[in-house]
């Protein structure tokens, strides 16, 4: 219980830090939102008026204080360009992004677990080398290139999946695969080395000596223990995903918060950028928290520490 509270407090402090750093970065940068809103032909007076309206003429610390107090009451501010509550905008986009992320996690876990396990069983053989090479390729492939290639092969040439859009299962397949390929490479490598460690343990040897079938040994005895590092990884992975989401959503026209962020970045719509960054940081913190809290439940060895 104490541990949980301490972790929560830490998470809160980290979010506060992320808010502070993002705030300072965004407002210290040369891009001027007031000029962006006023347009190129606006007079200096108009720009000054807008700046005053948005409260941008106040000292930075005061602005940050306002932002924080609003934040604590659940108010992320209003979008400069869309004149709407940032929180409303994000909530509207969240289901699309969460769908994409869940599908992506599914792809990488399934691919990673299968490939990693096969490689570990066939350790040192041709299949193992092939899987390891493939995992390196997956890790080294830029997401936008994977996205464009998948689009070219499966949407343009074969016509199996739609080019872009959102709504049906067919729409999810290509973006989720794009998002999952990168992680699948890491997972395959981690599962492989965890499996090899586990397969060398005494209890596995005992199971073998008892005459258990190798399928039973792998699925009942080895895999559950080899999965542990993966669970910790999923939490950390969410961070990777939040960045990848911007690229993948841009290529596939997926109406999630990545796209929202990308539009906001081009319009210097600072409240939205802040909101999305904070939401992402929150997702990362929650992911890590869950990983930390679940690990002892699954693995009794961690509990005593």
């Amino acid at each position: 219980m104490f541990l949980v509270l301490r972790r929560l407090a830490q998470a809160f402090l980290i979010l506060l830090g992320v808010a502070a750093i993002t705030f300072v970065l965004l407002y210290a940068l040369p891009a001027d939102p007031a000029r962006m809103i006023a347009g190129r032909s606006a007079t200096a007076q108009t720009v000054a008026n807008i700046r005053h309206e948005l409260g941008l003429d106040q000292p930075l610390l005061l602005q940050f204080w306002h932002y924080l107090t609003n934040l604590l009451s659940g108010n992320l501010g209003r979008s400069y360009a869309q004149k709407t509550d940032v929180w409303t905008l994000i909530v509207a986009r969240l289901p699309a992004t969460l769908t994409l992320m869940l599908a992506g996690i599914l792809v990488e876990v399934i691919l990673g677990l299968t490939l990693g396990t096969i490689a570990a069983i066939r350790r040192g053989g041709f299949v193992d080398r092939l899987v390891m090479m493939a995992s390196f390729v997956g890790v080294s492939a830029p997401q936008f290139v994977v996205a464009l290639l998948l689009l070219y092969v499966f949407a343009v040439t074969l016509g199996w999946f739609p080019m872009s859009g959102y709504g049906t299962l067919a729409h999810v397949v290509l973006p989720a695969t794009t998002l999952g390929v990168l992680g699948a490479g890491w997972y395959a490598r981690m599962v492989r080395s965890a499996m090899i460690d586990v397969l060398n343990q005494d209890y596995v040897r005992t199971a073998r000596a008892k005459g258990l079938s190798s399928r039973r040994i792998i699925f009942r005895h080895a895999l559950p223990n080899a999965i542990l590092p993966i669970i910790a990884m999923i939490g950390i992975d969410i961070g990777q995903f939040m960045g990848g989401v911007v690229v993948v959503e841009a290529v596939y026209g997926w109406p999630g918060i990545g796209q929202l962020a990308w539009q906001a970045i081009q319009q210097v719509d600072i409240p939205i950028i802040m909101g999305v960054t904070l939401t992402s940081a929150l997702a990362i913190v929650i992911g890590n928290l869950i990983a930390d809290l679940i690990a002892p439940v699954i693995d009794p060895r961690i509990r005593t520490r």
């Binding site: 830490q10 402090l13 980290i14 979010l15 830090g17 992320v18 750093i21 970065l25 965004l26 940068l29 040369p30 891009a31 390891m132 090479m133 390196f136 390729v137 890790v139 080294s140 492939a141 830029p142 997401q143 936008f144 290139v145 464009l148 290639l149 070219y152 343009v156 080395s193 090899i196 961070g239 990777q240 939040m242 960045g243 990848g244 911007v246 690229v247 841009a250 962020a261 990308w262 970045i265 081009q266 210097v268 950028i273 999305v276 960054t277 992402s280 940081a281 990362i284 913190v285 890590n288």
Partner: protein
């Protein structure tokens, strides 16, 4: 020498080394190898209808939508990628080393502050941060390098921190201290040399990450700006055209993939060779 010998024995590492060497040669010798000026928008580089030319014939890998020779642009793009890879990653490793070693060696408050700061950086969605920074600053090669360095130092810092913590509790450091060696002397003469393998490994692996990040930023149009060729912005410039001219995405994509893959392979092999605790694990 031993390292090189061992690397030549592993097929994957050898492949990586060869590709890395090729990319370096491409970058350095670009002016002599390139058949055309990379920025020259050639009249005969477009078809009569004004479409880019497919690979083959006069233009080895075809031409882009402005009639520029793709092969020449890829050669010059190697310069962009390598410069950013070396500069950005060099800075990232330097910052990571500095933060990690100081936080690992000092105990107490300063160390805590530094490590909590890296915790904070870990909670930042790195790519999102890079995109925001690159988009709001006026993008240029050096800005891109700075942004990448700013995002990528964290992992190095954490690894160096853990290693320094381990090292500073070892007996030989204690012995040095009791002989009267100052903190700086211990840090630079006794701890830093042990971190050289780590720096080399992460320096190499980090180039792969950096090349990918630069390509991604340039692909989004907020990295290296055309006409200066970069593998990412070649794809950025032609992505709306890619159904008609897939080679404009395919070739730069392959080059990015191969380069990142090779630096990863070399880095991974280096880790196996340089880190004795990792030996025999495969």
């Amino acid at each position: 020498m031993r390292v090189l010998k061992e690397m030549l024995r592993q097929p994957a590492a050898l492949f990586g080394l060869v590709v890395v060497a090729l990319v370096v040669v491409m970058a350095i010798a670009a002016p002599w190898i390139a058949p055309f000026d990379p920025d020259n928008q050639m009249f005969d580089g477009l078809s009569l209808e004004g479409a880019p030319l497919p690979p083959g014939g006069q233009f080895l890998l075809g031409t882009d939508t402005l009639g520029r020779d793709l092969f020449s642009r890829l050669l010059y793009g190697a310069r962009t990628s390598l410069v950013i890879g070396l500069v950005a990653n060099g800075i990232a490793v330097a910052i990571g080393l500095l933060v990690g070693i100081v936080a690992g060696y000092l105990k107490g408050f300063a160390s805590n502050v530094l490590m909590r700061f890296t915790d904070l950086m870990m909670a930042f969605p790195a790519l999102l941060l890079a995109i925001v920074l690159a988009a709001l600053l006026r993008p240029s090669l050096w800005i891109v390098a700075m942004v990448i360095a700013l995002v990528n130092w964290v992992q190095v810092a954490r690894i160096v921190y853990t290693e320094t913590r381990g090292l500073s509790e070892r007996d030989f450091i204690m012995a040095e201290r009791s002989l009267g060696a100052g903190h700086l002397r211990v840090l630079f003469m006794h701890i830093l040399p042990h971190l050289v393998p780590t720096a080399i490994v992460w320096g190499t692996l980090g180039i792969a990450t950096t090349v990918l990040l630069e390509a991604t930023l340039s692909f989004l149009g907020i990295g290296v700006q055309p006409p200066q060729p970069s593998w990412g912005n070649i794809i950025f410039e032609s992505q709306s055209y890619f159904q008609a001219a897939p080679w404009l995405v395919f070739f730069p994509g392959i080059v990015i993939l191969l380069t990142a893959l090779s630096f990863n392979l070399v880095g991974d092999a280096l880790r196996d060779i340089l880190d004795p605790t990792q030996r025999g694990r495969n």
